[in-house]
Amino acid sequence: MNSARLLLFIFFPVITYAQDDLLSQLEKQDSTRSFPVEATFKSTRVVNGQSVETMKKKHLDFRISHRFGRLNSGAYQFFGLDQATMRMGFEYGVTDRLEVGVGRSTSQKVYDFFAKYKLIEQTTGGRTIPVSVTVFGGTGIATVNRELVFQNKLYYTGQVLIARKFGEKLSLQLSPTWLFRNHPEVTGDEKILLALGIGGRYKLSKRVSLNGEYFYTAREKNTVTAPYHDSMSFGVDIETGGHVFQLHFTNSLGMIEKQFIGETSGTWSKGDIHYGFNISRTFSFDKKNKRAAKEKI
Protein backbone atom coordinates (compact mmCIF):
# COMPACT_ATOMS: atom_id res chain seq x y z
CA MET A 1 0.00 0.00 0.00
CA ASN A 2 1.08 3.57 -0.62
CA SER A 3 2.64 4.45 2.73
CA ALA A 4 1.87 8.18 2.54
CA ARG A 5 -1.80 7.46 2.07
CA LEU A 6 -1.68 4.97 4.93
CA LEU A 7 -0.15 7.57 7.23
CA LEU A 8 -2.78 10.17 6.27
CA PHE A 9 -5.49 7.62 6.92
CA ILE A 10 -4.06 6.69 10.31
CA PHE A 11 -3.53 10.22 11.56
CA PHE A 12 -6.72 11.69 10.13
CA PRO A 13 -8.51 11.67 13.52
CA VAL A 14 -5.58 13.54 15.09
CA ILE A 15 -5.60 16.18 12.37
CA THR A 16 -9.31 16.89 12.71
CA TYR A 17 -8.96 17.08 16.46
CA ALA A 18 -6.29 19.75 16.16
CA GLN A 19 -8.47 21.83 13.85
CA ASP A 20 -11.15 22.05 16.50
CA ASP A 21 -9.47 25.09 18.02
CA LEU A 22 -10.30 27.06 21.12
CA LEU A 23 -12.42 29.69 19.41
CA SER A 24 -14.75 27.15 17.83
CA GLN A 25 -15.07 25.45 21.22
CA LEU A 26 -16.37 28.74 22.64
CA GLU A 27 -18.70 29.10 19.69
CA LYS A 28 -20.09 25.63 20.27
CA GLN A 29 -20.76 26.36 23.94
CA ASP A 30 -22.64 29.49 22.97
CA SER A 31 -24.68 28.07 20.10
CA THR A 32 -27.91 27.57 22.04
CA ARG A 33 -28.37 31.20 23.07
CA SER A 34 -30.95 33.43 21.42
CA PHE A 35 -31.05 37.20 21.09
CA PRO A 36 -33.98 39.60 20.82
CA VAL A 37 -34.33 41.33 17.47
CA GLU A 38 -33.84 45.03 18.11
CA ALA A 39 -35.20 48.08 16.33
CA THR A 40 -37.96 46.58 14.20
CA PHE A 41 -39.04 50.21 13.88
CA LYS A 42 -37.13 53.37 14.75
CA SER A 43 -39.88 54.78 16.89
CA THR A 44 -43.12 53.88 18.64
CA ARG A 45 -45.09 54.95 15.52
CA VAL A 46 -44.95 53.61 11.97
CA VAL A 47 -46.40 56.90 10.69
CA ASN A 48 -49.68 57.61 12.50
CA GLY A 49 -50.29 54.15 13.86
CA GLN A 50 -48.55 52.45 16.75
CA SER A 51 -45.57 50.20 16.03
CA VAL A 52 -44.57 47.13 18.07
CA GLU A 53 -41.82 49.17 19.74
CA THR A 54 -42.20 50.30 23.34
CA MET A 55 -40.00 52.62 25.38
CA LYS A 56 -37.38 50.81 27.45
CA LYS A 57 -37.50 50.91 31.26
CA LYS A 58 -37.11 54.40 32.76
CA HIS A 59 -36.90 56.03 29.35
CA LEU A 60 -39.19 58.90 28.42
CA ASP A 61 -40.18 59.83 24.91
CA PHE A 62 -41.39 63.37 24.32
CA ARG A 63 -43.25 63.62 21.02
CA ILE A 64 -44.45 66.64 19.12
CA SER A 65 -46.46 66.01 15.97
CA HIS A 66 -47.89 68.41 13.45
CA ARG A 67 -50.24 67.97 10.51
CA PHE A 68 -50.77 70.83 8.14
CA GLY A 69 -53.72 71.66 5.88
CA ARG A 70 -54.40 70.07 2.49
CA LEU A 71 -51.88 70.40 -0.33
CA ASN A 72 -54.78 71.03 -2.76
CA SER A 73 -55.91 74.10 -0.81
CA GLY A 74 -53.69 76.10 -3.16
CA ALA A 75 -51.19 78.94 -3.02
CA TYR A 76 -53.54 81.22 -1.04
CA GLN A 77 -53.33 78.80 1.91
CA PHE A 78 -49.64 78.21 1.13
CA PHE A 79 -50.52 74.60 0.21
CA GLY A 80 -51.85 73.88 3.67
CA LEU A 81 -49.00 75.25 5.74
CA ASP A 82 -51.22 78.13 6.96
CA GLN A 83 -53.23 75.68 9.05
CA ALA A 84 -51.65 73.38 11.55
CA THR A 85 -52.98 70.93 14.06
CA MET A 86 -50.75 69.33 16.63
CA ARG A 87 -50.44 66.66 19.26
CA MET A 88 -48.05 66.71 22.18
CA GLY A 89 -47.38 63.51 24.07
CA PHE A 90 -45.27 61.77 26.65
CA GLU A 91 -44.51 58.05 26.68
CA TYR A 92 -42.71 56.28 29.49
CA GLY A 93 -41.29 52.80 29.88
CA VAL A 94 -42.45 51.28 33.18
CA THR A 95 -40.60 48.07 32.36
CA ASP A 96 -38.75 47.01 29.22
CA ARG A 97 -42.08 45.65 27.97
CA LEU A 98 -44.72 47.99 29.39
CA GLU A 99 -45.20 51.53 28.25
CA VAL A 100 -47.77 54.13 29.29
CA GLY A 101 -48.56 57.35 27.48
CA VAL A 102 -50.61 60.51 27.50
CA GLY A 103 -51.26 63.06 24.81
CA ARG A 104 -53.24 66.12 23.88
CA SER A 105 -54.43 66.88 20.37
CA THR A 106 -55.60 70.32 19.31
CA SER A 107 -58.02 68.74 16.85
CA GLN A 108 -61.29 68.06 18.78
CA LYS A 109 -59.34 68.99 21.97
CA VAL A 110 -58.69 65.34 22.80
CA TYR A 111 -56.80 64.04 25.84
CA ASP A 112 -55.64 60.49 25.14
CA PHE A 113 -54.28 57.86 27.52
CA PHE A 114 -52.86 54.50 26.60
CA ALA A 115 -50.78 51.50 27.55
CA LYS A 116 -48.74 49.17 25.37
CA TYR A 117 -47.37 45.81 26.37
CA LYS A 118 -44.82 43.77 24.44
CA LEU A 119 -46.24 40.26 24.68
CA ILE A 120 -43.77 38.43 22.44
CA GLU A 121 -40.39 39.58 21.22
CA GLN A 122 -38.89 38.31 17.97
CA THR A 123 -35.62 36.44 18.60
CA THR A 124 -32.83 34.87 16.59
CA GLY A 125 -30.33 32.21 17.56
CA GLY A 126 -30.91 28.97 19.45
CA ARG A 127 -34.59 29.51 20.06
CA THR A 128 -36.19 31.43 17.23
CA ILE A 129 -39.43 33.39 17.58
CA PRO A 130 -40.53 34.67 14.17
CA VAL A 131 -42.60 37.73 15.18
CA SER A 132 -43.01 40.41 17.83
CA VAL A 133 -46.48 40.92 19.25
CA THR A 134 -47.51 44.02 21.19
CA VAL A 135 -50.98 44.77 22.54
CA PHE A 136 -52.23 48.33 22.67
CA GLY A 137 -55.17 49.71 24.61
CA GLY A 138 -56.21 53.32 24.78
CA THR A 139 -58.98 55.69 25.65
CA GLY A 140 -59.56 59.37 25.05
CA ILE A 141 -61.76 62.28 25.97
CA ALA A 142 -62.81 64.65 23.20
CA THR A 143 -63.52 67.85 25.10
CA VAL A 144 -64.37 70.11 22.18
CA ASN A 145 -68.17 69.78 22.53
CA ARG A 146 -69.05 71.06 26.00
CA GLU A 147 -72.74 70.16 25.67
CA LEU A 148 -72.05 66.42 25.70
CA VAL A 149 -72.27 64.40 28.88
CA PHE A 150 -68.91 62.96 29.96
CA GLN A 151 -69.54 59.39 28.75
CA ASN A 152 -70.29 60.65 25.27
CA LYS A 153 -66.89 62.30 25.01
CA LEU A 154 -65.14 58.96 25.43
CA TYR A 155 -63.78 56.49 22.89
CA TYR A 156 -61.73 53.30 23.23
CA THR A 157 -59.13 51.61 21.03
CA GLY A 158 -57.72 48.10 21.11
CA GLN A 159 -55.00 46.82 18.82
CA VAL A 160 -52.89 43.72 18.41
CA LEU A 161 -49.67 44.65 16.64
CA ILE A 162 -47.82 41.83 14.93
CA ALA A 163 -44.51 42.63 13.28
CA ARG A 164 -41.52 40.90 11.82
CA LYS A 165 -38.12 42.28 10.95
CA PHE A 166 -37.00 40.57 7.75
CA GLY A 167 -33.26 41.03 7.90
CA GLU A 168 -31.62 44.35 8.43
CA LYS A 169 -33.73 46.58 6.22
CA LEU A 170 -37.31 45.44 5.89
CA SER A 171 -39.89 45.32 8.68
CA LEU A 172 -43.60 44.67 8.18
CA GLN A 173 -46.50 44.95 10.58
CA LEU A 174 -50.15 43.94 10.73
CA SER A 175 -52.41 45.89 13.09
CA PRO A 176 -55.92 44.52 13.63
CA THR A 177 -57.86 47.33 15.29
CA TRP A 178 -61.05 47.64 17.30
CA LEU A 179 -62.47 51.11 17.83
CA PHE A 180 -65.47 52.00 19.98
CA ARG A 181 -66.95 55.50 20.06
CA ASN A 182 -69.60 56.18 22.72
CA HIS A 183 -70.91 59.01 20.57
CA PRO A 184 -69.79 59.00 16.89
CA GLU A 185 -69.16 62.42 15.32
CA VAL A 186 -71.88 61.91 12.69
CA THR A 187 -75.31 60.82 13.95
CA GLY A 188 -76.14 57.41 12.54
CA ASP A 189 -72.51 56.23 12.31
CA GLU A 190 -71.76 52.85 13.93
CA LYS A 191 -70.21 52.92 17.37
CA ILE A 192 -67.96 50.00 16.61
CA LEU A 193 -65.42 50.14 13.83
CA LEU A 194 -63.11 47.29 12.90
CA ALA A 195 -60.00 47.90 10.83
CA LEU A 196 -56.87 46.16 9.65
CA GLY A 197 -53.68 48.15 9.37
CA ILE A 198 -50.68 47.14 7.35
CA GLY A 199 -47.44 49.03 7.67
CA GLY A 200 -43.76 48.71 7.08
CA ARG A 201 -40.43 50.33 6.74
CA TYR A 202 -37.45 49.90 4.49
CA LYS A 203 -34.08 51.23 5.57
CA LEU A 204 -32.44 53.32 2.87
CA SER A 205 -29.31 53.88 4.96
CA LYS A 206 -28.27 53.32 8.56
CA ARG A 207 -30.21 56.39 9.68
CA VAL A 208 -32.93 56.92 7.10
CA SER A 209 -35.90 54.68 6.41
CA LEU A 210 -38.91 54.83 4.13
CA ASN A 211 -42.22 54.14 5.93
CA GLY A 212 -45.69 53.39 4.69
CA GLU A 213 -49.01 52.53 6.28
CA TYR A 214 -52.58 51.73 5.24
CA PHE A 215 -55.64 51.10 7.40
CA TYR A 216 -58.45 49.16 5.79
CA THR A 217 -61.75 49.86 7.55
CA ALA A 218 -64.55 47.28 7.49
CA ARG A 219 -67.31 49.64 6.35
CA GLU A 220 -68.71 51.30 3.25
CA LYS A 221 -66.63 54.30 2.28
CA ASN A 222 -67.94 57.85 1.94
CA THR A 223 -71.58 57.31 2.98
CA VAL A 224 -73.93 59.92 4.49
CA THR A 225 -73.54 58.53 8.00
CA ALA A 226 -69.83 57.85 7.63
CA PRO A 227 -68.29 60.29 5.12
CA TYR A 228 -64.86 58.76 5.56
CA HIS A 229 -62.07 57.06 3.65
CA ASP A 230 -59.23 54.71 4.57
CA SER A 231 -56.07 56.26 5.91
CA MET A 232 -52.89 55.96 3.88
CA SER A 233 -49.54 57.52 4.71
CA PHE A 234 -45.98 57.54 3.41
CA GLY A 235 -42.95 59.10 5.00
CA VAL A 236 -39.32 58.98 5.97
CA ASP A 237 -37.75 58.45 9.38
CA ILE A 238 -34.51 60.29 10.00
CA GLU A 239 -32.63 59.36 13.11
CA THR A 240 -30.00 61.61 14.67
CA GLY A 241 -28.63 60.60 18.05
CA GLY A 242 -31.45 61.09 20.54
CA HIS A 243 -34.01 62.42 18.05
CA VAL A 244 -36.14 60.69 15.46
CA PHE A 245 -37.71 62.94 12.83
CA GLN A 246 -40.62 61.46 10.92
CA LEU A 247 -41.70 63.48 7.90
CA HIS A 248 -44.69 62.30 5.93
CA PHE A 249 -47.62 62.78 3.61
CA THR A 250 -51.00 61.43 4.69
CA ASN A 251 -54.68 61.87 3.90
CA SER A 252 -55.47 61.91 7.65
CA LEU A 253 -55.48 65.01 9.77
CA GLY A 254 -55.68 63.34 13.17
CA MET A 255 -52.84 61.67 15.02
CA ILE A 256 -54.84 59.41 17.34
CA GLU A 257 -56.52 56.14 16.34
CA LYS A 258 -60.08 57.45 16.66
CA GLN A 259 -59.29 60.23 14.19
CA PHE A 260 -56.99 58.74 11.58
CA ILE A 261 -58.62 55.31 11.42
CA GLY A 262 -62.18 56.41 12.09
CA GLU A 263 -62.50 59.93 10.70
CA THR A 264 -60.23 60.40 7.68
CA SER A 265 -62.24 62.57 5.32
CA GLY A 266 -59.71 63.19 2.55
CA THR A 267 -58.64 60.99 -0.33
CA TRP A 268 -55.27 60.78 -2.06
CA SER A 269 -56.87 60.80 -5.52
CA LYS A 270 -58.35 64.28 -5.00
CA GLY A 271 -55.13 65.63 -3.55
CA ASP A 272 -56.44 65.89 0.02
CA ILE A 273 -52.94 65.26 1.27
CA HIS A 274 -51.52 66.67 4.46
CA TYR A 275 -47.85 67.24 5.06
CA GLY A 276 -46.86 66.43 8.64
CA PHE A 277 -44.06 65.49 10.96
CA ASN A 278 -43.42 63.79 14.29
CA ILE A 279 -40.42 64.71 16.39
CA SER A 280 -39.45 62.25 19.06
CA ARG A 281 -36.84 62.94 21.72
CA THR A 282 -35.83 60.24 24.18
CA PHE A 283 -34.55 60.91 27.69
CA SER A 284 -33.06 58.29 30.02
CA PHE A 285 -34.08 58.54 33.65
CA ASP A 286 -32.06 55.53 34.64
CA LYS A 287 -29.98 56.52 37.67
CA LYS A 288 -27.29 54.09 36.57
CA ASN A 289 -26.83 56.34 33.58
CA LYS A 290 -25.77 59.33 35.65
CA ARG A 291 -23.59 57.22 37.89
CA ALA A 292 -21.91 55.65 34.89
CA ALA A 293 -21.14 59.05 33.43
CA LYS A 294 -19.19 60.04 36.55
CA GLU A 295 -17.34 56.79 37.20
CA LYS A 296 -14.08 55.92 35.54
CA ILE A 297 -14.01 52.40 34.24
Binding site: I10, L22, D30, F35, E38, T240, S284, N289, A293, I297
Partner: protein, 189 residues
Protein backbone atom coordinates in the same frame (compact mmCIF):
# COMPACT_ATOMS: atom_id res chain seq x y z
CA UNK B 1 1.80 -12.69 11.65
CA UNK B 2 4.24 -10.15 13.00
CA UNK B 3 3.29 -7.78 10.20
CA UNK B 4 -0.43 -7.94 11.05
CA UNK B 5 0.30 -7.24 14.67
CA UNK B 6 2.31 -4.19 13.61
CA UNK B 7 -0.59 -2.89 11.53
CA UNK B 8 -3.02 -3.29 14.43
CA UNK B 9 -0.70 -1.37 16.74
CA UNK B 10 -0.30 1.43 14.18
CA UNK B 11 -4.06 1.66 13.75
CA UNK B 12 -4.70 2.03 17.47
CA UNK B 13 -2.11 4.80 17.94
CA UNK B 14 -4.30 7.70 16.79
CA UNK B 15 -7.17 6.60 18.98
CA UNK B 16 -4.89 6.43 22.01
CA UNK B 17 -3.36 9.79 21.11
CA UNK B 18 -6.80 11.35 20.95
CA UNK B 19 -7.75 9.88 24.30
CA UNK B 20 -4.55 11.13 25.88
CA UNK B 21 -4.89 14.52 24.30
CA UNK B 22 -8.39 14.83 25.65
CA UNK B 23 -7.44 13.58 29.11
CA UNK B 24 -4.46 15.92 29.39
CA UNK B 25 -6.05 18.71 27.43
CA UNK B 26 -9.14 18.92 29.57
CA UNK B 27 -7.23 19.15 32.82
CA UNK B 28 -5.06 21.89 31.38
CA UNK B 29 -7.97 23.95 30.04
CA UNK B 30 -9.24 26.94 31.98
CA UNK B 31 -12.31 28.84 30.92
CA UNK B 32 -15.13 31.23 31.81
CA UNK B 33 -18.41 32.30 30.24
CA UNK B 34 -19.08 35.18 32.64
CA UNK B 35 -16.10 37.35 31.86
CA UNK B 36 -16.41 41.08 32.24
CA UNK B 37 -15.56 43.34 29.31
CA UNK B 38 -16.17 47.06 29.60
CA UNK B 39 -15.51 49.89 27.24
CA UNK B 40 -15.73 53.62 27.41
CA UNK B 41 -15.54 56.51 25.01
CA UNK B 42 -14.74 59.81 26.64
CA UNK B 43 -15.06 63.20 25.01
CA UNK B 44 -15.73 66.62 26.55
CA UNK B 45 -19.32 66.38 25.24
CA UNK B 46 -20.35 62.88 26.19
CA UNK B 47 -19.12 59.84 28.07
CA UNK B 48 -20.36 56.54 26.79
CA UNK B 49 -19.93 53.31 28.71
CA UNK B 50 -21.05 49.75 28.32
CA UNK B 51 -20.49 46.44 30.02
CA UNK B 52 -20.58 42.83 28.82
CA UNK B 53 -20.84 40.29 31.64
CA UNK B 54 -21.11 37.25 29.40
CA UNK B 55 -17.71 37.26 27.72
CA UNK B 56 -16.23 33.83 27.07
CA UNK B 57 -12.54 33.02 27.49
CA UNK B 58 -10.58 29.80 27.28
CA UNK B 59 -6.88 29.18 27.97
CA UNK B 60 -4.87 26.07 27.22
CA UNK B 61 -2.19 26.17 29.91
CA UNK B 62 -0.02 23.56 28.21
CA UNK B 63 0.33 25.48 24.96
CA UNK B 64 -0.45 29.04 26.11
CA UNK B 65 -3.20 29.30 23.50
CA UNK B 66 -5.93 31.77 24.41
CA UNK B 67 -9.31 32.51 22.85
CA UNK B 68 -11.83 35.19 23.83
CA UNK B 69 -15.28 35.62 22.37
CA UNK B 70 -18.20 37.90 23.13
CA UNK B 71 -21.54 38.79 21.64
CA UNK B 72 -21.87 42.45 20.77
CA UNK B 73 -25.54 42.29 21.78
CA UNK B 74 -24.50 41.41 25.33
CA UNK B 75 -23.07 44.89 25.86
CA UNK B 76 -25.44 46.69 28.21
CA UNK B 77 -25.63 50.48 28.08
CA UNK B 78 -27.36 52.54 30.76
CA UNK B 79 -28.97 54.44 27.89
CA UNK B 80 -30.95 51.97 25.75
CA UNK B 81 -31.05 54.29 22.80
CA UNK B 82 -27.27 54.24 22.71
CA UNK B 83 -27.39 50.45 22.95
CA UNK B 84 -29.70 50.32 19.95
CA UNK B 85 -27.45 52.66 17.98
CA UNK B 86 -24.37 50.65 18.97
CA UNK B 87 -25.88 47.46 17.55
CA UNK B 88 -27.74 48.98 14.61
CA UNK B 89 -25.46 51.70 13.34
CA UNK B 90 -21.95 51.14 14.58
CA UNK B 91 -21.25 47.45 15.17
CA UNK B 92 -23.95 46.13 12.80
CA UNK B 93 -24.43 43.25 15.23
CA UNK B 94 -26.77 41.36 12.95
CA UNK B 95 -24.02 41.06 10.32
CA UNK B 96 -21.08 40.86 12.74
CA UNK B 97 -22.46 39.36 15.96
CA UNK B 98 -19.22 38.70 17.83
CA UNK B 99 -15.89 40.19 18.80
CA UNK B 100 -13.08 37.64 19.15
CA UNK B 101 -9.43 37.20 19.99
CA UNK B 102 -7.56 34.06 19.13
CA UNK B 103 -3.88 33.90 19.96
CA UNK B 104 -1.07 32.73 22.16
CA UNK B 105 0.62 33.95 25.33
CA UNK B 106 3.99 35.52 24.54
CA UNK B 107 5.59 34.32 27.82
CA UNK B 108 5.84 30.79 29.10
CA UNK B 109 4.16 30.76 32.49
CA UNK B 110 4.02 27.98 35.06
CA UNK B 111 0.29 27.88 35.69
CA UNK B 112 0.60 25.25 38.40
CA UNK B 113 2.11 27.72 40.88
CA UNK B 114 0.51 30.81 42.40
CA UNK B 115 1.92 34.06 41.12
CA UNK B 116 1.47 37.27 39.19
CA UNK B 117 2.88 37.97 35.76
CA UNK B 118 3.00 40.92 33.38
CA UNK B 119 2.61 39.40 29.97
CA UNK B 120 1.09 39.83 26.57
CA UNK B 121 -0.76 37.75 24.00
CA UNK B 122 -0.39 37.97 20.24
CA UNK B 123 -3.07 36.88 17.84
CA UNK B 124 -6.02 37.74 15.68
CA UNK B 125 -8.34 40.41 17.03
CA UNK B 126 -11.67 40.61 15.19
CA UNK B 127 -14.29 43.31 15.67
CA UNK B 128 -16.93 44.47 13.15
CA UNK B 129 -15.77 41.75 10.75
CA UNK B 130 -12.27 43.25 10.47
CA UNK B 131 -9.33 41.16 11.71
CA UNK B 132 -6.09 42.74 12.93
CA UNK B 133 -3.03 40.97 14.30
CA UNK B 134 -2.37 42.55 17.65
CA UNK B 135 -0.23 42.11 20.73
CA UNK B 136 -2.30 42.94 23.78
CA UNK B 137 -0.57 43.27 27.13
CA UNK B 138 -2.08 42.43 30.46
CA UNK B 139 -1.69 40.73 33.80
CA UNK B 140 -2.07 37.10 34.74
CA UNK B 141 -2.68 36.12 38.34
CA UNK B 142 -2.75 32.53 39.49
CA UNK B 143 -4.35 31.93 42.85
CA UNK B 144 -6.46 29.18 44.45
CA UNK B 145 -6.52 27.19 41.23
CA UNK B 146 -8.02 30.10 39.31
CA UNK B 147 -6.39 32.17 36.63
CA UNK B 148 -7.30 35.86 36.43
CA UNK B 149 -6.65 37.63 33.15
CA UNK B 150 -6.77 41.43 33.22
CA UNK B 151 -6.07 43.76 30.36
CA UNK B 152 -6.53 47.40 29.39
CA UNK B 153 -6.18 48.26 25.75
CA UNK B 154 -7.52 50.53 23.06
CA UNK B 155 -9.48 49.88 19.90
CA UNK B 156 -9.18 52.59 17.24
CA UNK B 157 -12.52 52.81 15.41
CA UNK B 158 -10.81 53.42 12.05
CA UNK B 159 -8.90 50.11 12.33
CA UNK B 160 -12.16 48.21 12.25
CA UNK B 161 -14.05 50.31 9.72
CA UNK B 162 -16.56 51.55 12.28
CA UNK B 163 -18.04 54.68 10.73
CA UNK B 164 -19.06 57.62 12.85
CA UNK B 165 -21.16 60.22 11.02
CA UNK B 166 -19.97 63.82 11.15
CA UNK B 167 -22.83 65.08 13.34
CA UNK B 168 -21.84 62.79 16.22
CA UNK B 169 -18.10 62.85 15.45
CA UNK B 170 -17.29 65.08 18.41
CA UNK B 171 -19.33 62.91 20.79
CA UNK B 172 -17.51 59.64 20.17
CA UNK B 173 -13.83 59.08 20.90
CA UNK B 174 -11.71 57.86 18.01
CA UNK B 175 -10.03 55.31 20.26
CA UNK B 176 -12.20 53.26 22.57
CA UNK B 177 -10.76 52.19 25.93
CA UNK B 178 -11.43 48.57 26.75
CA UNK B 179 -11.01 46.85 30.08
CA UNK B 180 -11.21 43.07 30.26
CA UNK B 181 -11.40 41.06 33.49
CA UNK B 182 -11.76 37.31 33.25
CA UNK B 183 -11.50 34.72 36.03
CA UNK B 184 -10.83 31.34 34.49
CA UNK B 185 -11.51 28.08 36.29
CA UNK B 186 -10.44 24.55 35.29
CA UNK B 187 -12.71 22.93 32.73
CA UNK B 188 -14.41 19.90 34.21
CA UNK B 189 -15.41 17.00 32.07
Amino acid sequence: MKRYFFVVVILTIPAVLCQMGEAFGQSLMYSTSTGNTRFSSETPLENIKAENKKSQAILNTSTGELAIRMNMRDFVFPNKLMQEHFNENYMESEKYPTGTFSGKMDKVIDYSKDGEYETSATGKFTVHGVTKTRTISGKIKIEDGKISVNSDFQVPLADHKIDVPEIVFVKIAQKIDVKAQYVLVPVKK
